[in-house]
Symmetry: C2
DNA sequence: TTTTGTTTGTGTACGTTATACGCTAACAAA
DNA sequence: TTTGTTAGCGTATAACGTACACAAACAAAA
């Protein structure tokens, strides 16, 4: 078998946001397509002299209006099935870019951002939609598979490092933090033990501000103390599989 | 900037083995090169109609004689610096394959295998060398970076899942298991607590066989009970960053 | 034959962390 | 005033991590 030539490399990003209740993914709508293939993940071909992370940040800025410093980006895996893009989709790509590629290998990224009014306004002006992840049934090409993979990566990483805070506003209640874990991991957590664990970590900083206008005891707002976390870098040996 | 064309995709594999004392990586020797660029990781261009994992398994079988079922393979990250391969190295590749690529993006894999006599015989007949990882100073192109990245992935994964057993023979002593953790993670572990932890997991099965001819109390051989591990799939919520 | 060095393997003690759950406080809305 | 809801504190107990004492088993040296 000869060495593959005339191939293209692309990036596709699963972009996650959290609205306080459920985990959402950002989907791009392609109006000319039929219902089944209408929605896809934000993505792009890689350009000359551009690394993959650079391409991903370019895609994300175009889709969300947010720049590198407001995004958490992580490379996950590569989707290299020789036929993952073929037929109409391959033609669409070749026509769009004026190239003649026979194969598109894509690198999956996932991104986390803080969903606020400005961002949702921007995305909807671009014809993109935030969809609750558990109701997403099907996407164009193999993008559903990429999204599922990203969700798996997110769940694992949320338990290994404090990425959850990338999805929350600067100030958040412990309730919001808990709901995020519950929504992403699909579990229920005891509020009292969760609160105890989070506060005892020393990474949460009480702001003194409280919720207003809620029909229950108002909760205090906290911020994530990143420098305290870094100071406590735990290089403890923990065999988490035992 | 135009879409990148004339690019190539390759796989490079960091292959790890353990000889009971130290962690080794498999390096390919290129006789015609000078000392600095002489050693590289096993790797290859991707062929037509071949996925990346398929390409990696092909490379590994060529380098070690081992097939898919005897290897543990994992994709890690992608190295996409536009200039990671240029000049002489790029010419070498183009000449070797009769192509005219301007850019080579590589996907880093790491592989684990059980180092035995048969495998070392095979690799040395292929002009490859097993080198203790901490003495590797420099490799061709960016392969040193790929190897370091792989080592990081291995260390992390060894603490998250029982991959250590992929590096040990079917029957091993607890001492060997401990030495592997010590060598890979660069730490010292209390033998008594380590033994307790491992045995209490229920994943080790005592064979009844003992070491022979050793100048100390002979240790029992154990096997890893993979099915017991799978049965105990711990989907426990553990926030390891707290 | 005895001693020495080395590693296996058992056991104990103690502090930390996880988990289950009772209870009061504070708010809006009924 | 009552009701529903969530915040936030506390307590008991089991599970786990860590430090370390010590006997047993072997080969090789004395």
């Amino acid at each position: 078998m000869p060495v593959q030539t005339n191939q293209s490399l692309s990036v596709d990003c699963a972009v996650f946001g959290f609205d306080g209740e459920s985990l959402k993914a950002l989907l791009i709508e392609r109006p000319t397509y039929n219902a089944l293939d209408r929605l896809k993940l934000p993505g792009s071909m890689i350009l000359e002299n551009e690394t993959l992370p650079e391409a991903a940040y370019r895609v994300l800025e175009e889709a969300t209006g947010l720049r590198k410093r407001d995004l958490y980006l992580k490379q996950m895996e590569i989707f290299s099935d020789p036929n993952r893009v073929s037929g109409d989709e391959l033609e669409w790509i070749n026509r769009k870019h004026g190239i003649r590629t026979v194969r598109v290998v894509t690198v999956g990224f996932y991104a986390l951002l803080k969903l606020d009014r400005r961002t949702t306004d921007y995305t909807s002006s671009k014809g993109a939609r935030w969809v609750t992840v558990d109701v997403i049934q099907r996407l164009a090409m193999d993008h559903k598979e990429i999204l599922s993979t990203a969700l798996g990566h997110l769940c694992r990483e949320m338990q290994q490092s404090p990425v959850a805070f990338e999805l929350l506003p600067k100030k958040f209640t412990i309730r919001a933090l808990q709901r995020l874990f519950e929504a992403a991991l699909g579990i229920e957590i005891d509020n009292r033990n969760f609160r105890k664990k989070m506060l005892s970590s020393g990474f949460l900083h009480a702001t003194g501000e409280k919720e207003q206008g809620v029909a229950h005891k108002p909760a205090e707002y906290y911020t994530f103390d990143r420098s305290a976390y870094r100071r406590a870098v735990k290089d403890k040996l923990r065999m988490n599989w035992v």
